[in-house]
Amino acid sequence: MPLTFNAKIFDDIEKGNKKWQENLDKVFGAKPERLTRFSTVSDREINRIYTPADVRDQDFAADIGFPGDYPFTRGVQPSMYRGRFWTMRMFAGLGSAKDTNKRFHLLVKEGQTGLSTAFDMPTLMGYDSDAPKARGECGKCGVAIDTLNDMEDLFEGLPIDKITTSMTINPPASIIWAMYIAMAEKRGIDRKVLGGTIQNDMLKEFIAQKTFMCPPVPSVRIIEDTVEFGTKEVPRWNTISISGYHIREAGSTALQELAFTLADGIAYTEKAIERGLDVDDFAPRFSFFFNSHLDFFEEIAKLRAARRMWAKIMKGRFKAKDPRSWWLRFHTQTAGCTLTAQQPYNNVVRTALQALAAIMGGTQSLHTNSLDEVLAIPTEEAATIALRTQQIIAEESGVANTIDPLGGSYFVEALTDQMEEEAFDIIQKIDDMGGMLSAIEKNFPQQEIADSAYHYQRQIDEKEKTVVGVNKYAVEEEIPVEVLEIDEELESLQIEKTNRVKTERDNQRVAECLEKVGDACSGKQNIMEPLIDAAKANVTLQEVCDVYRKVYGEYRDPGIY
């Protein structure tokens, strides 16, 4: 049943609105509106006002309903933040495994409730620290992991059977996960109890993040191996974190982020079903990862729409029966690309607003960026302020007292509907191209994002969009904050460490393990058990990746601009 209004009421509202608009036109006739066009940061046009007439087709029970009820517009769990807050999960990684371990211990001490690992560029791209291509990059952007030995140092003293760990890694995700499982088993922990996430979302790599190794088709094959393995062997693990975050940071609009991310989710689901898995066996272990950007209401609407759309997709398109398959559970990160090097303290405010939007949107976990985001990897102090921002919102502001506080706002509901409709149109377009894999081959999402990114940059240049401290209210200043520096010596120390492992291990065993990995790659056997054996035999990350590259070939940047 549509919302509580009858036709007469709508007529009156529309009449009233018309009159109000006409009056306003007169006022603005004398002194025009502030802007000729009001639009979101994604350049979506926004009306002067929203009324019940904008949501006249909405049906409370079918479209909004209660938290925990289909279609989950208001949240996936019935209790939401009345039960417990979102998980405060700060992304961290720097230098050596031992350095990062120290940061992890600090974050746990400061009240963080889940770990999240950032790897360095060589690790992300499937190279060991001693590779020629890794020169100058070791430990700069995260932690360097070459062998199981590094993984053990990274989690030294941390209760991995109790806390969950998220690992932002893609082409080598299978190997990193295998190392994690190997480490747990060496500690005597059963893989069945391990909880955590590997990002493992290659589609958005081709679209946005650009850490790629092999071509799309074999990349997805490896992912499906991990999905299958997780379903059977590591049931508490989130095997893919389907990510819109990177799509947005690469410059997409909110709408593109929403549509492309769900289209990626559809592609993974289709592939897993093709493999013979039951949708209800694996779908509950898919998790999502969204961006929370500057435009407060558009972000909230995006997150609400995403939940409702995924529920419809899973139930309608894939005929999933288990409600947990319908749930879109997601992590959120505030938008790094909105932060500025100029007047860096302003970033605390931006991040707070974005964090608030993510919470209003019902996120399950959250990373807040640090005020020195644009300068380098965050210092301890900056990361602590970012964590405190979340704690203040959670425990002081009162916004978490009620569930989906903006549900029923004419504006937010109308925007939610609008974004859903438009995103489904884009998904249809991708379906018509033959699905996301084909769309990527045609460089469709890449080109769309490149165009949006350039459009936005031009808007900043033309001052159509304001960036405080940059194109408005700018001042001359010295950078007032301390910048973290990664020790240049780290590289040689890490290379030494890896070389030591290589000379001390049983190289006969290594060769055997790599052969098994190669066989699994070119055959049909699941890759994961051979990888876990390889990890235990101290095979390096690159040694496995070289096998991947040899069997599947290398993907090169198509250079879409």
Binding site: R556, D557, P558, G559, Y561
Partner: protein
């Protein structure tokens, strides 16, 4: 000047790169150098590759380079991209697809922009081909987007002209028929991994068969191949067809050295004269200010363009 010629012939990369720039920028000094380079040309085999935007030409060129390198042949690539009509700038994006060869000393890749000068592209590309030829490249691959007449003329002067299409380009096949069917020595249906390649194949075949009388007389009949450039499928077979075409040219059309073929020399000299004439005439008219004055007069309705043209050109040529 002789120094430059020597360096080009010795294969000096920097010198060649700069000379091509000078050619492209229309520097008058290059004329002398090109004259001196002429005796060193005539050895390379030139392959022109054209087709609509995005059909996979650069991907194909990249694979061709790999194959030719395996046969120990040296390769020069000229990749032509369109200049933006709005800004006059261009992003030369073909190179990205071939960048894996950039460290290979046997490969020289050069991007050119169309720049939109009258007939100039054909001339400057021809000259750049001569430079690659003189530096000793065995094969020269020229990629252009098959849209403008200029771009078509560029590939037309090659030994083997290759037209690339993709499945499901119904309308574009019509366009090919209208414009460039007759210049294709080999037709490729790229992206054959996609649906519809059989239909495209039969369409093309039909069109080519229309000229069956020519083939009955023993003229070259263009083969049509289905390939998948990204996956390197069919590329080796395609190169075999190029060999066959080269053999055909060597046996029937008066040899591979176009400098000895009357029709080719006639065509090339004609084009050269045309380009040079335009260049000289326009230069003279712009320098004297006559050109701008005539434009003004046409705009102000004082004269019609036909008369204006006559007034400008006749005094020069008579």
């Amino acid at each position: 000047m002789n120094d430059i010629v020597e360096k080009v012939v010795a294969g000096d990369v920097r010198t060649v790169a700069r000379l091509i720039r000078d050619i492209d920028d229309g520097m008058p000094e290059v004329r002398g150098i090109l004259k001196d380079l002429y005796p060193h040309t005539g050895k390379a085999y030139v392959i022109g590759i054209t087709g609509a935007p995005g059909v996979g030409k650069s991907t194909l060129v990249d694979q061709m380079v790999a194959h030719l390198r395996k046969r120990d042949k040296t390769v020069g690539v000229l990749a032509v991209d369109p200049t933006s009509p709005f800004s006059g700038g261009a992003i030369l994006g073909d190179r990205v697809r071939m960048q894996r060869h950039s460290m290979d000393q046997g490969v020289f890749i050069r991007s050119l922009a169309t720049r939109g000068h009258f007939g100039g592209l054909t001339q400057s590309t021809r000259s750049a081909i001569d430079v690659f030829d003189a530096m000793g490249k065995d094969y020269i691959l020229v990629e252009t987007v098959g849209v403008g007449q200029d771009e078509v003329d560029v590939v037309r002067s090659a030994h083997t002209t290759v037209i690339v299409v993709i499945p499901g380009m119904g309308d574009d096949i019509q366009a090919i028929k209208a414009g460039i069917l007759e210049i294709g020595d080999i037709f490729l249906i790229n992206k054959a991994d996609r649906e519809g390649s059989d239909k495209t194949l039969s369409d093309l075949r039909l069109m080519i068969e229309m000229d069956h009388k020519k083939y009955d007389r023993g003229e070259w009949k263009p083969p049509i191949l289905k390939i998948q450039a990204v996956f390197d499928k069919g590329v080796a077979e395609f190169i075999d067809e190029i060999d066959k075409h080269a053999k055909y040219l060597a046996e029937t059309a008066g040899g591979l050295d176009f400098r000895e073929s009357k029709s080719k020399v006639r065509q090339e000299l004609g084009e050269m004269i045309k380009a040079r004439l335009i260049e000289e005439v326009i230069d003279r008219l712009t320098e004297s200010g006559d050109f701008d004055r005539a434009v003004e007069s046409i705009i102000n309705g004082k004269i019609d363009p036909y008369t204006a043209c006559e007034n400008l050109v006749l005094p020069i040529v008579s």
